[in-house]
């Protein structure tokens, strides 16, 4: 009787351990499945359309006859919008992180941090809506354009959307700087500001870099905001004051109109695959830099 009970218990514990293990490794399985299904669905496109034309083609016109699937204008659109966003987000994000993490009195910090966390939760479709109603008319009037729905509008809004990531991770990096560094710096006669920019910032540098990379990942992957406010024109324009279109916006806007299993459908999965690889690499680099903070 007792034996049977302990056997039952053993089997139960074994099954529980297996079950928990399966849940634990599920994230690997999910990532693998995502990659597999992106590949599987883009197979039809990748096997029939010349891959060189796909990667170097400068025309994206999937509904024309014959269709043309050049990814370059989309990559270009993603790139200039992301570039503009990073230029805006880096000074704002790092500046705010230094202020909140190092300089602000504790009481002010406790007010500022939740406000910035709120920014992270505002839905991208709401940001896009505000962009259409407020920012786009402003840009149009400021630069006397026919439309304010431009790459610039996308860059500005995406910059703010990346800020919570950049600020919170940079701030973590600043907080991770051991206090003895500050004490040593101050004891040598540095002012508080000198201590901040000659001691704290250099030590926190790799974490700040990681935060910018993660912010970039967020910018490149953002969909609804850019779909709504960048004008959605898949042409290569050498200016931030013209419409542009990103990879993400192309997938979101065209997937609804394609025939399931068709060439266009498959091509959208292929650009999704490219997007997946790009964001994976960005996060991979960021991960490398975050590990350095943890080792500190």
């Amino acid at each position: 009787m007792a034996n049977q009970k302990s056997l039952f218990r053993k089997i139960k514990n074994f099954l529980i351990a297996r079950f928990i293990f399966f849940n634990g490794i599920l994230s690997i399985i999910i990532l693998g499945l995502i990659l597999a299904f992106l590949l599987y669905n883009s197979l039809r496109f990748l096997s029939t359309y010349p891959i060189l034309d796909f990667l170097t083609g400068t025309k994206w016109s999937p509904t024309m006859e014959p269709p043309s699937f050049g990814i370059v204008p989309l990559l270009y659109g993603s790139a200039i919008i992301a570039f503009g966003a990073i230029i805006i987000a880096v000074p704002l994000g790092l500046g705010a992180a230094i202020y909140i993490g190092e300089l602000a009195p504790r009481s002010i910090r406790e007010i500022l941090k939740p406000i910035i966390e709120i920014l992270a939760t505002i839905p991208s479709v709401v940001i896009g809506f505000i962009g259409i109603m407020v920012l786009a008319p402003f840009i149009r009037d400021l630069f006397k354009l026919s439309t304010g729905l431009t790459a610039l509008a996308g860059s500005i809004m995406l910059a703010f959307m990346a800020l919570p990531t950049i600020i919170s991770i940079s701030e973590d990096a600043i907080n991770a700087v051991p206090n003895k560094f500050r004490s040593a710096s101050l004891a040598l006669g540095a002012t508080k500001w000198e201590c901040t920019y000659k001691t704290v910032v250099p030590v926190a540098k790799s974490g700040m870099f990681a935060s910018v990379m993660l912010g970039l990942g967020r910018i490149v992957g953002e969909t609804m905001t850019v779909l709504m406010i960048t004008g959605n024109s898949p042409r290569i324009a050498f200016s931030w004051l013209q419409p542009a279109r990103t990879i993400t916006a192309t997938i979101a806007s065209e997937m609804g109109q394609t025939a399931r299993g068709g060439m266009h459908y498959s091509a959208l999965f292929a650009i999704g695959l490219v997007l997946f690889v790009i964001t994976f690499l960005i996060n991979f680099i960021a991960e490398g830099f975050t590990r350095r903070i943890k080792d500190m």
């Binding site: 634990g24 690997i28 406000i115 910035i116 399931r260 999704g272 996060n283």
Partner: protein
């Protein structure tokens, strides 16, 4: 007086003081720009949207091609999607965190699992949408439905729940586990009866924050769940639903002359739902952290 004795040093000190003040103010201004952006958006939405929110707006279906009526089906659809997302992601996320914190050994596999979770958090939402379309909608033949949308959103917020639960489990002192094991409890009994109850506030926080995110997402449900317009309310998990974020997108981008007050109203309702979750989540987390800190001090 001092100027005569240390003239040079005083000048550098003055210069340094000026420099310090300059940069403090500069960084303060930068921070205020960010804060002003956030508060500006919220205030503007409240000012513009508050007038549109009436009982009719919240309780009626859209009519006349979205130009009249309310947003009730979209609110309901978002609630259905939230419930589905919680039911799916909560157990998986909690078990996954239990594995990482209670079972996993320090080895290569564990490192790969941890890296996968980090990378899952970095996958763009539109890629989750593509995956949901390819896997749940077409391969598993769920069609565009609440279940397909909930599954897709669940994957999206899984990293949030896992990370929060893991953090909460890690904060449970080992003495509790040892005490339970010493009394003859099995590992599983210890987890269920001792460790997990201690971690519940942290788990709730993570879930609430994740759900807030899921409620506002559009791209993942674009091809997996969201309906442009649905005259009847859904009566099965295999039905499509209208959802607030997608409804706002439709009003803004696809209905040509939708009245502005409907758009502002929809945006404000969506913001209120999302903020509701994030304020609760952030509040719980701050409380838990303060509690933990004071506990350490004692």
């Amino acid at each position: 007086m001092k100027d005569d004795i240390y003239p040079k040093k005083t000048i550098t000190m003055r210069h340094k003081n000026f420099q310090q003040k300059f940069f403090y103010i500069f960084l303060l201004i930068i921070t205020l720009i960010v804060i002003a952006f956030v508060l500006g958006i919220i205030m503007y939405l409240i000012i513009k949207g508050a007038g549109a929110i009436t009982w009719e707006f919240l309780s009626q279906k859209p009519s006349a091609g979205m130009r009249e009526g309310g947003i009730f089906p979209a609110i309901l659809g978002t609630i259905y999607l939230i419930i589905g997302t919680i039911i799916i992601s909560l157990p998986i996320g909690v078990f996954s965190a239990i594995y990482l914190n209670e079972y996993a050994k320090q080895n290569k596999l564990t490192n790969i699992v941890k890296m996968s979770i980090v990378n899952m958090a970095g996958v763009p939402s539109v890629v989750y949408g593509l995956f949901g379309l390819g896997f749940f909608v077409l391969f598993l033949k769920f069609g565009r439905s609440i279940i397909a949308g909930s599954l897709t959103l669940a994957l999206l917020i899984l990293p949030v729940i896992i990370t929060a639960t893991e953090e909460a489990l890690r904060a449970v002192p080992n003495a509790y586990r040892h005490a339970s094991l010493a009394l003859g409890a099995t590992k599983w009994q210890t987890i269920v009866k001792v460790t997990l109850p201690q971690a519940i506030p942290g788990i709730i926080t993570g879930t609430v924050l994740g759900v807030g995110r899921a409620a506002g997402e559009t791209a993942p449900i674009l091809f997996t769940a969201a309906a442009f317009f649905q005259p009847n309310l859904p009566n099965s998990i295999f039905d499509q639903v209208m959802a607030l974020p997608y409804h706002l997108f439709v009003l803004v981008a696809q209905v040509s002359d939708a009245p502005d007050d409907k758009k502002w109203g929809t945006a404000l309702v969506l913001l209120i739902i999302v903020l509701f979750f994030s304020v609760i989540g952030t509040g719980l987390r701050t409380r838990a952290r303060l509690k933990r800190q004071s506990g350490h001090d004692v």
